[in-house]
């Protein structure tokens, strides 16, 4: 298979530009590295951070908040480092997302609570925070999610995700606050679940 070997040799030495060249990326890459780079390239357009993937919007980081305010008007915003994310009717059947915005330290954070059945017959809740910003900006923060109940407390602390990465892969890996419906019942009040959210600089 001589022809393929020749092609591979070319591919292993020629440098290609990143596909976001026109958006400002100057990276030159080997064919084998190109796809990995483009996945994390900071010039890759941002997708709409709303969970559920029904919105197909893409654009620059600067345009994300404008998009959210124009198209996803129903999302509530609370100001402050320490707020309560109140998810109502958590017993609603099926896959459900709860979303709100928290604004502090001059940044906007999107709080997501997702109920889904990753495993058959076992509903779980996944709560996570993403920064409307780059991965580098996200690394300056730490978020804490806390469920508080009668003589019980469950806490998760981590670095916010950047909306450039999104939350779905973290939810797939359980790299977020995970709890099942039994725990939700321990902490819920009348079907409503309050999650204390605190954002800190680190």
């Amino acid at each position: 298979n001589i022809r393929n070997l020749a092609m591979e040799k070319v591919a292993s030495t020629v440098m290609f530009p990143c596909k976001y060249f026109a958006s400002g990326c100057n990276a030159q890459l080997l064919h084998t590295d190109k796809q990995d780079h483009e996945e994390i390239c900071e010039f890759r357009p941002y997708s709409c951070p709303c969970p559920g993937a029904s919105c197909k919007w893409q654009g620059s980081l600067e345009q994300v908040m404008t998009h959210l305010l124009a198209v996803h008007k129903s999302i509530t915003t609370l100001k402050g480092e320490d707020i309560v994310f109140l998810a109502t009717d958590i017993n609603l059947p099926g896959a459900v997302d709860w979303v709100m915005m928290q604004s502090c330290f001059g940044h906007h954070f999107m709080l997501v609570l997702e109920k889904q059945e990753k495993y058959d017959g076992h509903q779980q809740f996944f709560a996570i925070v993403q920064l409307i910003g780059t991965r580098k900006q996200a690394e300056n923060f730490i978020y804490r999610l806390e469920l508080s109940g009668h003589r019980r407390r469950l806490t998760w602390e981590a670095t916010p995700r950047s909306i450039h990465d999104g939350v779905q892969s973290a939810i797939m890996n359980s790299d977020c606050l995970v709890f099942d419906t039994s725990i939700a019942k321990l902490f819920a009040d009348n079907g409503n679940l309050g999650i204390n959210v605190t954002i800190n600089l680190c």
Copy 2:
């Protein structure tokens, strides 16, 4: 069905002694309340607190530590309010229990980490602390279990269970620290998982 009605009338007015009368309980109960009382009667014998239910020992609270030291010699004890419960080889397949003892405030606590498949194809870990003592004694304490990793922390705080109640019903209800194998991997080091355990008076 006249005969049953008559029996029910008798049963609803006659008082019966608790079945642990000989052990010191003086409670007199209606037939309808008898079973519920005996389930929580403080004179009910204590069962061996080791998870797995292979040991059928029963006895008084005073005899539990003697039993553990004599029959379950392999269980490690650490002294102090703040210790690390190191579970080795957490990737072992199947249902596995890790157990150790923590001794502080003049009491002995049993730390249990249980891996099981409550839901088909979804292995989960359940970590919990039980006091070698009564429910009333347990209410004086609060325990904290903490998983700490790279820019991530998962914490559970609650009242210890009394060994009189045991841990199985709490595990069934997820009323403990629950995490799946993906989270275990985030926090484990070379297949070993360290859980920080802190006991406090409250």
